[in-house]
């Protein structure tokens, strides 16, 4: 396992990782629909393998403000996960959850921030439960952490984690919505040993 770097793994098992991404994002969309009491349609998620030079501007322009919610993962799977939203999507989801009129975009107050954290937590939780079911692994996420800042600054966190083992990262973009489209982005960052565990749990020998 340790003889492989992330590039090899990502390229060889792109299809498997894509499938995990599809199922995880599907579950996450269902979770948002339930939470907001909406019927949401999901587009087919786009799974991209990006160099970290590309990662900084993959969600939005590098110095655009975005929201990032981050979880640390423990137990059978060690690593972390991020869910990223552009600000218009973040405002849309918070407004729906808080029962506000659409288009309200005053800066988030404490209550809004904690709602946003929880939205991220629920979305990533349902993604992770899909992954846990498929792999029969136990995954224990931390409490959610939130940052609202420049896209490249938030993405420096996964970039640094990927950067320790390779030069690219797997980004999953999923769009869902009714009349308004919301784009969310997932980044799953297993540590290299955990990557191997996920793949062997799915019956793939390294």
């Amino acid at each position: 396992m340790s003889d492989y770097n992330f590039e090899d793994i990502n390229r060889m098992y792109f299809d498997v990782l894509k499938e995990i991404g599809n199922i995880g994002a599907g579950n996450a969309t269902t979770a948002i629909s339930d939470m907001l009491g909406l019927r949401l349609n999901m587009e087919v998620p786009q799974v991209k393998l990006l160099s970290f030079q590309e990662l900084g501007s993959a969600v939005s322009a590098e110095d655009d403000t975005i929201a990032g919610i981050y979880l640390e993962l423990h137990n059978d799977l060690e690593g972390s996960m991020m869910f990223l939203l552009k600000m218009d999507s973040a405002h849309y989801l918070v407004n729906r959850l808080m029962g506000r009129a659409e288009g309200y975009d005053a800066p988030f107050d404490e209550m809004d921030l904690s709602a946003l954290k929880e939205i991220g937590n629920i979305i990533m939780g349902s993604y992770l439960s899909a992954l846990a079911t498929m792999t029969k692994m136990r995954i224990a996420p931390s409490v959610p952490f939130l940052a609202i800042d420049m896209a490249a600054a938030i993405l420096s966190v996964p970039a640094i984690q990927f950067g320790q083992f390779g030069d690219d990262a797997l980004l999953i973009e999923t769009e869902f919505g009714d009349d308004v489209k919301v784009s969310g982005f997932f980044i799953l960052l297993p540590e290299p040993d955990s990557y191997g565990k996920i793949l062997s749990a799915l019956g793939i020998e390294m």
Partner: protein
């Protein structure tokens, strides 16, 4: 005003007066600006990790504080700068998420800042100013006409160091 040179993540470059060199959205990474005030040559490295010797995957020299700074100095000398005149300013190294202390990314920003300063000391390049740590992202701009290092953050006034 001259043109603007943009440096990406794990990247470095340089320019001469009247040009400006910038990197957008430093989070836990560090932007290391080197400047020769006589030749008015400015260089900027955007490093992600502290130490290349601890990594197996270390081909990209601009990714690490140690090899990135060495390479930037080499390129600046090749472009006509004098090593004895180089001065440094650094920014970045934030802790973007308030994660637990034991986390492997929790203190990466601080480690990046520390490793950058250590390398500058080794090379005998004086650190004139720094704006590191805390919990927010920074866009930096080095103006080669003056050596000014401007730092922009979301919801904060522009800082000049």
């Amino acid at each position: 005003m001259g043109t603007t040179v943009k440096v990406g993540m794990a990247d470095l470059n340089l320019c001469k007066s009247p040009d400006m060199i910038t990197t957008l959205g430093l989070g836990s990474c560090i932007g290391i600006a080197l400047y020769d005030p006589v030749k008015k040559i400015g260089g900027l490295a955007h490093i992600m990790l502290p130490d290349s010797t601890q990594m197996k995957n270390n081909q990209n020299i601009a990714k690490f504080a140690d090899t990135g700074i060495e390479e930037l100095v080499r390129r600046m000398i090749a472009a006509g700068a004098s090593k004895g005149r180089l001065v440094a300013k650094i920014a970045g190294g934030a802790k973007m998420f308030e994660v637990s202390v034991g986390s492997n990314i929790g203190n990466i920003g601080a480690r990046n800042a520390e490793a950058s300063k250590k390398k500058l000391r080794e090379l005998g390049i004086p650190l004139r100013a720094e704006d590191t740590g805390l919990n927010y992202g920074r866009t930096v701009e080095l103006y080669t006409e003056t050596g000014e290092f401007r730092i922009k953050s979301v919801g904060k006034p522009v800082k000049i160091i």
